[in-house]
Amino acid sequence: MSRLLPFFGFVLLVALFGFGIWWNTQHDQREVPSPLINKPAPAFVLPRLDEPAQTVSRDSLLGKPYLINVFASWCIACGDEHPVLMTDGKSIGVPLIGYNYKDAANDAKAWLAEHGNPYDMVIVDQEGRTAIDFGVYGAPESFLVDGKGIIRYKHIGPLTPDVIKTELRPAIAALAKETSP
């Protein structure tokens, strides 16, 4: 019996490594969990892309849920995401707010002119200073903010039809259920 002990030890280690490999295939190691979920969205005041003299603040958006989508013309994955936003953006039931991240205004405008503009409003963070408060570490990223200004859901990477169907729409539906009764 005790002769087999090293063998059992070996089997145990193999099982442990196997579990590790399996676990890694189930989880995206590059996704950094946001500590901001269920916390108030950071206060921000950012200019609009089309009217730089006009600013949008967190407080001015209170009252209705909305989806903030971080994008930039230099971001390749945003190019994959864009057609999805064009088809599904209008039907998700909340305003879609573009968050133009570290982009030149002219590049962003040209990009939207070329590919279409799925956003109800585009705000600009050229320095990326507010993005640090949001914990943004790349683009695209999307934040669902409820009417009280609380971040309820975050998606890192491009929104796909699958993500919209299985994650975003249920999250929005849950918000609607909260506010209706």
Binding site: S2, L5, G9, R30, V32, P33, S34, P35, L36, K102, G128, R129, I132, D133, F134, G135, Y137, G138
Partner: protein, 152 residues
């Protein structure tokens, strides 16, 4: 001959200085003194670059890492302690920004797992050795002749 040597020395000096100039050009931050710079270097070395993920903030060339270095620098200037600066980043990017994760229920296995495995191995070895020496001390002496060459 000496001309060649002088040229070589000059080239070497040039390489050396351009190397330094390059390192400076990545991030020319206006430190007040050397101690402050050392503190900044130590702090950014303990923080992870979120984009590259296996590099720290001090070494990373990523755009966000540069922004966060400036953020750390600004926080230092405003008189924040190292812990406050780390907390500031943890509030935004979670514990993931720390190279040393804090000891929590979710990280117990990470911190003490290897030690537990080592201890379990040690226990097995001690128990095995003791049992063998108790059960068959003579047998092991006899086995010695056949055991030769296996020792390493």
């Amino acid at each position: 001959m000496s001309g060649h040597r002088a040229l070589g020395a000059l080239l070497l000096a040039l390489m050396f200085f351009t190397g330094i100039a390059f390192a400076q050009a990545i991030d020319p931050l206006p430190f007040k003194n050397h101690a402050e710079e050392v503190r900044f270097q130590n702090l950014t070395r303990e923080l992870r670059c979120l984009v590259c993920q296996n590099e720290n903030l001090a070494d990373s060339n990523a755009d966000l890492a540069r922004d966060l270095r400036h953020e750390v620098f600004d926080l230092m200037q405003s008189g924040k302690s190292d812990d406050e600066i780390k907390q500031y980043l943890v509030d935004r990017y979670s514990d993931f920004v720390l190279y040393d994760p804090p000891v929590q229920s979710s990280t117990l296995l990470l911190w003490f797992g290897p030690l537990a495995i080592l201890l379990a191995g040690a226990v097995v070895v001690v128990v095995t050795v003791r049992r063998r020496s108790r059960v068959a001390p003579v047998a092991t002496m006899d086995d010695k002749s056949t055991d030769e060459g296996d020792d390493w």
